[in-house]
Symmetry: C2
Subunit: 135 residues, 2 copies
DNA sequence: TTTAATACCTATAAAAAAGGTAGGAATTGT
DNA sequence: ACAATTCCTACCTTTTTTATAGGTATTAAA
């Protein structure tokens, strides 16, 4: 399941994308109020998005957040990986968070090929859907 | 991610399928030992599988477990739903565990259609892979 | 230079879920 | 009667999720 944190991140990104044309940066408090997201929780989410160069931030009295990447280049797969970790359902088939299965012969394990298929099908959707598509 | 509980269930089912031809039922202790699954934990898993008519059990000294459904009719989607709940990544697109999204207009929400696609693609794999396919 | 409003940072905490155990009751073939 | 099993309820521990508290650093404007 997609976590609340991840849903909040997507909502915030959509909000920022819709209000991109504004002159000033957008306060986290505004996003929190408009999208009904706990303020302090949202701050940690926006910081993560800034750290991975999806947003840029400005400090001080007239500070706030802006998109750094354009909405059409922010894919759901990227946001979900950032917030929730792997897309894959097994660590041993994860592209970005690979970890070996304990006590399972990967060359013989037939589960592996099944969950590689699931991963590929899932990524073909999430890797082709951007924030722009959600507006 | 698939939980350990679910992996244990799949392993146990594969073990039972491989040893189907035996005269006697198979002890949970044997499965636990052979597949390296905590014994007491496995008992609760086998009970769930029996309650949903995938296994049948026999009590007493010569008791044990047997498959009730044939391996080719036990699909991963069924086992995963039983162990981990919904396949879908959002409650509002779950076929078997539907729950409305709070504070999200479902008719307008574009996330919904995206995650319906993910669900359908995932089910097309998991709903067509049986325990027999994993042996 | 003060002030006020913001982003930023670290630590903490409450709630839920995952993973597993304990102890014994009920059942059944020998 | 006995031994070995399934079955059942309750509990426990650790990890993850979902936040909150309290303050520091930064910046524009008064």
């Amino acid at each position: 399941m997609v976590s609340k944190k991840c849903k909040y991140a997507i909502k915030a990104l959509i909000y920022l994308a819709k209000n991109q044309t504004r002159d000033s940066a957008i306060f986290s408090s505004e996003i929190a109020f408009e999208e009904d997201i706990p303020k302090k929780f949202l701050e940690t989410i926006l910081r993560d998005l800034r750290n991975s160069r999806i947003l840029q931030s400005q400090r001080g009295k007239t500070g706030g957040y802006r998109l750094l990447k354009q909405p059409e280049h922010i894919y759901l797969s990227e946001v979900m990986r950032l917030m929730d970790g792997p897309i894959a359902l097994l660590p041993c088939v994860s592209l970005n968070y690979y970890a070996p299965c304990e006590g399972c012969n990967e060359t013989l394990c037939k589960l592996k090929t099944v969950f590689e298929s699931v991963r590929d099908e899932t990524l073909s959707v999430l890797g082709n859907t951007s924030i722009k598509d959600l507006i």
